[in-house]
């Protein structure tokens, strides 16, 4: 029997370039193929082992640099003002880096900070082999010393999908605001942006325990837990999720590069589009904010997406850089 499909899907999973539907397909295939399932960890460790080309690259690099570097000499025709602006900008960037450095790199504990690319998403492999897909504007922090061996604790700000590597005896713990999520080998999604009023956890497979203020709930696959942060007492809202027609959970649709909205108000949609595109919405009236939409934004630009929305409800818009004005 040919199991090439498994290897294709494993490659896509390791590279982070996999659709949620394919991920489910992979899980099903691996269930029926214990041999391939056993190779999965091996494949992951091969993937983590960096390869570099050797041969004469080092000499090449120097020769190329010798050709490039003379071009870097500053040109005379730059005005002083322009140079000052450049210098000020460089100094500002440097200042930020320096402050960041000072803040994140005290002498003893080494804090590793990972952020998604501005306006984009990123995939990272943690030292223990766990794979994390970071949604826009998302940051992970962890103590580098002993990570994977003595501890596996990270702090999340934003939204991320986790595929946690199994590790006996070292639980994986995620701190999302005041909510703690304890894991033992599993895949799930956590949404905990700084501006969110709650922490949302959606489990895809495996088992996790979510704790907040001494209270703990164990989640089953396809369940979503909402922990409101605004209440004083710990209140958990747990519900079983229905997969949509494409067989995936709407909560992880961002992995798919899609923004899914289902009977959301324009106001809610504006908040989603703010995270998606990094644009800020201004509504001329409250009634506009109450318009309701359902649909999917795929890879459209802001303009294209708004044009699409105009097809179902009448409104006018004006995009000015990162500002969007909605009017009647």
């Amino acid at each position: 029997m040919s199991n090439d499909r498994i290897w294709i899907l494993l490659g896509k999973q390791l590279s982070g370039d996999i659709l949620p539907a394919e991920l489910s397909e992979l899980e099903v295939l691996l269930k029926d193929d214990p041999e391939a399932a056993a190779s999965r960890d091996l494949a992951a460790s091969i993937w983590q082992t960096p390869i570099q080309e050797v041969s004469a690259t080092h000499d090449s690099k120097e020769r190329i640099w010798d050709a490039v570097s003379p071009q870097l000499q500053p040109r005379r025709h730059h005005t002083i003002v322009r140079r000052l602006v450049a210098a000020a900008a460089a100094a500002a960037v440097f200042g930020v880096i320096w402050t960041g450095w000072q803040f994140t790199r005290p002498a003893a504990p080494v804090l590793q900070q990972l952020s998604s690319a501005p306006g984009g998403k990123s995939r990272v492999v943690l030292p223990d082999g766990s794979i994390v897909l970071l949604n826009r504007n998302t940051q992970l922090d962890y103590e580098k010393n002993g990570f994977g061996k003595q501890h596996r604790e990270i702090t999340l700000s934003g939204e991320a999908f986790f595929d946690i590597a199994k590790s006996d005896g070292v639980p994986f713990i995620i701190h999302a605001g005041k909510v703690n999520i304890r894991v033992l080998g599993t895949a799930f999604n956590v949404k905990a942006y700084a501006g969110d009023s709650a922490v949302f956890t959606t489990l895809v497979r495996g088992k996790i325990a979510v704790s907040f203020r001494e209270k703990t709930v164990v989640l089953q696959p396809d369940e979503k837990l909402t922990v409101p942060l605004t209440r004083l007492a710990a209140v958990f809202q747990q519900k079983h999720l229905e997969k949509d027609s494409s067989g995936q959970l709407p909560e992880i649709s961002w992995l798919n590069n899609k923004l899914v909205f289902d009977n959301n108000t324009f106001g809610e949609l504006a908040a989603k589009m703010n995270q998606w595109y990094g644009v800020t919405f201004h509504f001329e009236s409250d009634s506009l904010e109450q318009l309701r939409f359902s649909g999917i934004i795929d890879t459209e630009s802001v303009d294209e997406a708004l044009n699409m929305l105009q097809l179902s409800r009448p409104f006018n818009f004006q995009v000015n850089g990162k500002e969007v004005r909605i009017s009647n």
């Binding site: 290897w7 294709i8 490659g11 091969i46 050797v54 090449s60 690099k61 490039v68 960037v93 501005p118």
Partner: protein
Amino acid sequence: MRDDIPELQNRIYNGDTQAFKELYDYCCAPLLQLALAIVHNREMAEEIVADVFIAVWRKRKDLHQVSNLKWYLYAATRNIALNYLRKYAHKKTLHLDEAYSLEYEINPEAQLISNEMMRHINMAISELPPQCRLIFKLVKEDGLKYREVAVLLNVSIKTVENQVGIALKKLTRMKAFLITPLSGGQ
């Protein structure tokens, strides 16, 4: 994978030569490899990569229009390499499956496995067919998207999927074979 390329881009845009050098150090080797895979001539590949970086520096004031600098570098390398090929068409042809024999070594900084094992992985990677090796490397090592690799090499996404799958299958087999005698106490 470095995630501060947008920041480097911003600094280069402002004329920061140090940032430019950092970008160079980070991207030179993979770009050289791509150029080599296309032109099969080291001297020519070195010229191509130099052209790419000189162009980036000269046009740094246009960098704010580039949304993905890493991809921009790969695409520029591919385009300039193809131009070279056209110029020297009588000498070279674009066939990724032609032998371009580069050796690979495992980065010694990440010694997750024994040296012996690394040597074997190293060998197994160098034994992959050239196109398979290049695609695997672009996806795994350089972190390009499947779609990007397909565009870059003018192959279908299916081909990229298949080649990565094949590479993984072969490498995993090899490693499983290596581990078995040890645990079997042979």
